[in-house]
């Protein structure tokens, strides 16, 4: 085995801003990024609060030195490139030329954000136009391959789609590949842009809140959708030390399980969530008492928060844990949520500060535990981040101080 796997750089864009610094500032100042959509061309724009990234496609293209207008890059890819730009600015590209490295991306609906506006043109006989540049952009790998092409790198590439746990799974795969000696470094994360497809899809499930979501609150109704991208550089601790890199955190534990309970709903007593967190703790050689903060999946849907809350309660038998959902800040960024919240969890760890659970007023009657609603300074050694998805795909990650 390769010893400990550490995180040495991050890149992120979300409704809270571009770059890791802007995220921390908004999180600690309790400034949510939700708004009514300005860029998503939906009939429901004035109706739902969404975690939309501030920048338009043209503004993102300008940041990336890409042509304006229909340039063939979907918003999904533009978000991915913007987040990766931060990571590469921090690390340079030279470190990737020494030995094999992996780019492991995650995504749920590919370039649907573009395709949904062009689909009738796609189907129209003999019609031509700039939309043709988008014909191969619907699948999830388009953002992955565009990252490699844009930054002119030739990594081992993989794209994962396990719904809302996708990018947490990307982090696990990267760590495993390094442990097995298959690559030296792995850039892992995910991206998703808001689309009418997902907004209407979740809305047809009747679990989207029009107002700001209220995780772990008795009055919660559903989630807010969001968009974003987040990437983390994973490498062996000894490699990071040898090249003098800043070590942000150690990935000390992880688990991937399946509920095997229902196609979309979690097991009501949170058995799946409990098992996943417990396995991650086992992997890290820790107990729940060692955890200083949990960044919950906390979508604010009736089912998730009941199941996850009960699982947390079962896990923490000896102490009241600090836990919160940061989704009222960013909206649920779907495939990006795992990596975005992994970065948030690392920020909490590095800064010894809990991340506030916004909009919490009334405890859930079935829970004796309550989320932390303030940015509280407290010594942190270990934090856990949950990501649970449709299809019963559960992931927990544990990050520890180096």
């Amino acid at each position: 085995m390769a010893g400990r796997i550490v995180i040495t750089a991050t890149g992120i864009i979300s409704a809270l801003g571009r770059g890791t610094g802007e995220q921390l500032q908004a999180l600690t100042q309790k400034k949510a990024g939700l708004r009514h959509a300005l860029h998503l061309k939906t009939k429901h724009a004035g109706e739902f609060l969404l975690g939309e990234v501030d920048y338009s496609n043209d503004e993102l293209s300008a940041i990336l030195n890409l042509p304006q207008g229909d340039n063939g890059y979907t918003r999904t890819t533009l978000l991915a490139l913007a987040a990766m730009q931060e990571l590469f600015e921090k690390t340079g590209v030279d470190i990737y030329t020494k030995g094999a490295f992996a780019l492991i991306n995650a995504n749920t609906v590919g370039g649907m954000c573009s395709v949904e506006d062009m689909y009738l043109d796609f189907l129209a006989e003999k019609k031509e136009g700039p939309f043709l540049k988008y014909i191969d952009t619907l699948d999830c790998a388009e953002s992955t391959l565009n990252i490699a092409r844009y930054f002119n790198i030739k990594p081992f590439t993989a794209t994962i789609s396990t719904a809302c746990s996708s990018s947490a799974n990307a982090i696990i795969l990267g760590s495993r590949m390094i442990q097995l000696g298959l690559v030296n470094k792995a850039i892992c994360g995910g991206c998703d842009a808001l689309s009418r497809f997902t907004l209407n899809g979740f809305n047809s499930l009747k679990n989207v809140d029009k107002e700001a979501s209220r995780p772990f609150d008795q009055s919660r109704f559903g989630l807010n959708l969001g968009e974003g991208a987040g990437y983390l550089l994973l490498e062996k601790e000894e490699d990071a030390i040898n090249r003098g890199a800043d070590i942000l955190a150690v990935l000390s534990g992880y688990a991937n399980t399946n509920d095997a309970y229902h196609p979309t709903a979690p097991s009501p007593e949170g058995d799946g969530a409990y098992m996943t967190m417990q396995l991650a703790l086992d992997k890290a050689g820790l107990t729940a008492n060692d955890l200083d903060y949990v960044n919950a999946h906390g979508t604010a849907t009736i089912n998730n928060d009941a199941a996850e809350g009960k699982a947390l309660q079962r896990l923490f038998t000896d102490k009241q844990p600090y836990f919160s959902s940061t989704k009222p800040f960013t909206g649920h960024t779907l495939a990006a949520a795992g990596s975005v919240e992994a970065i948030f969890s690392i920020l909490a760890l590095q800064n010894n500060i809990t991340l506030p659970n916004l909009n919490f007023t009334t405890p859930m009657p079935e829970l004796q535990i309550q989320p932390v609603t303030e940015a509280i300074r407290t010594n942190m050694q270990h934090v856990l981040s949950n990501s649970f998805g449709f299809g019963g795909n559960n992931v927990s990650l544990i990050f520890s101080r180096a």
């Binding site: 649907m112 949904e116 796609f122 789609s161 396990t162 497809f197 209407n200 991937n256």
Partner: protein
């Protein structure tokens, strides 16, 4: 470098045959319209009868094929379920998308939205087998099946305990998908009879296909059909890079091209993708058989699943059916099979399989 892992069973749903069929490519199907749709099995013996009514074709073929692979291996509850799909359920994706456009974002029902998620087959397989273990879905265009096999090899190398993984792939085509991709020249015009696709390799374009393939793999060689030695995935690679990948793959198993009995090539009739195969064929020794398959299953993101299934049949029957032959070699038996597959969107994979000594 990872240790080989063992394929214990292989199951197929394809345009040619599905898992209920006993023979091996002995009842050939063909088409004239540039599409090869699957022949559908009776799904009911493998899928919950209440759930089946609302399922689209992709879910049914994926779930039933996976369950059949487990049944063949005598495994009820695998330790992991790892799949790959290029496009997931196209039918459900298109349906929800078109409904949303037509209904102007009002009064939509969630079934097709839920089923359009790429991991829905995995979720159902976990549910039906009560498998709480590792569960993963890769969506990486032409190397999605390969990633599922690669992760399977990783998973089985990470433990010393006897473990079983269900790995596989599924993709489907739809009339709208054919229409959309025609705009960027995917398909051969005019469409030849599918069985003669490879006789029409001087022009661009191919024919569309679909299917599911599932395999039970273990780190234990008992009752194995063959081993998965190693595999490589490349993106935007030139002829030289592919040749290097072949050589690396072979040398990792201490083999050379001379040791390969059959090379399965993924040529799809499109002259734009022929160069990779021409180089492989030119470099192969005279005793090596060269086999092709996309005239039988069509081109799709996870068509290499059909090729891996074919290879397991080669090992079991020690025969390469004539319909597959590009060149018949004079090897004594079939021990080592190399699969080289190139996909339209410029990905290439190299897979090395070796017969198990019983």
């Amino acid at each position: 470098m990872m240790k080989p892992v063992y394929i214990l069973s292989a199951s197929i749903v394809s345009p040619q045959q599905h898992y209920e069929h006993e023979g091996f490519l002995d009842d050939l199907k063909s088409s004239h319209d540039g599409t090869l749709y699957i022949t559908e099995p009776n799904y009911r013996q493998y899928i919950n009868p209440v759930a089946i009514r609302r399922m689209s074709k992709l879910l049914k073929m994926g779930i039933s094929c996976g369950m059949n692979a487990l049944k063949q291996a005598g495994i009820e509850k695998p330790d992991a379920i790892i799949t790959g799909t290029g496009r997931g359920s196209m039918v459900d994706t298109e349906q929800f998308l078109l409904d949303m456009i037509k209904m102007e974002e009002e009064a939509l029902t969630p079934t097709s939205f839920i089923q359009s998620t790429y991991n829905s087959v995995n979720g159902w397989l976990a549910l039906q087998t009560k498998s709480n273990g590792y569960n993963q879905t890769y969506v990486n265009r032409g190397t999605s099946l390969e990633l599922s096999l690669f992760d399977t090899q990783m998973f089985l190398n990470e433990t010393n305990e006897k473990s079983y993984v269900l790995a596989g792939c599924f993709d489907e085509i739809t009339p709208d998908y054919i229409k959309v991709k025609q705009k960027v020249g995917y398909w051969k015009q005019p469409s030849p009879n599918s069985l003669y696709l490879l006789n029409n390799s001087a022009t661009p374009g191919t024919i569309a296909g679909e299917g599911a393939a599932f395999f039970t793999l273990s780190n234990n060689s008992d009752n194995a059909i063959c081993s998965l030695q190693s595999l490589q995935m490349l993106q935007d690679a030139g002829v030289d890079e592919v040749r290097d990948a072949v050589n690396t793959t072979l040398s990792q198993s201490s083999l050379s091209l001379n040791d390969i009995d059959v090379i399965i090539c993924g040529m799809n009739g499109d002259i734009r993708q022929q160069a990779v195969y021409d180089a492989i064929i030119a470099g192969s020794p005279s005793h090596t058989t060269i086999a092709a398959f996309k005239h039988l299953c069509g081109e799709y993101d996870t068509s290499s699943g059909f090729a891996v299934w074919m290879a397991t049949e080669f090992f079991s029957t020690q025969q390469v059916p004539d319909i597959l032959l590009l060149k018949k070699g004079n090897h004594a038996n079939i021990k080592n099979v190399l699969i080289v597959n190139h996909y339209i969107l410029n990905s290439t994979s190299v897979i090395l399989l070796q017969a198990s000594l019983q």
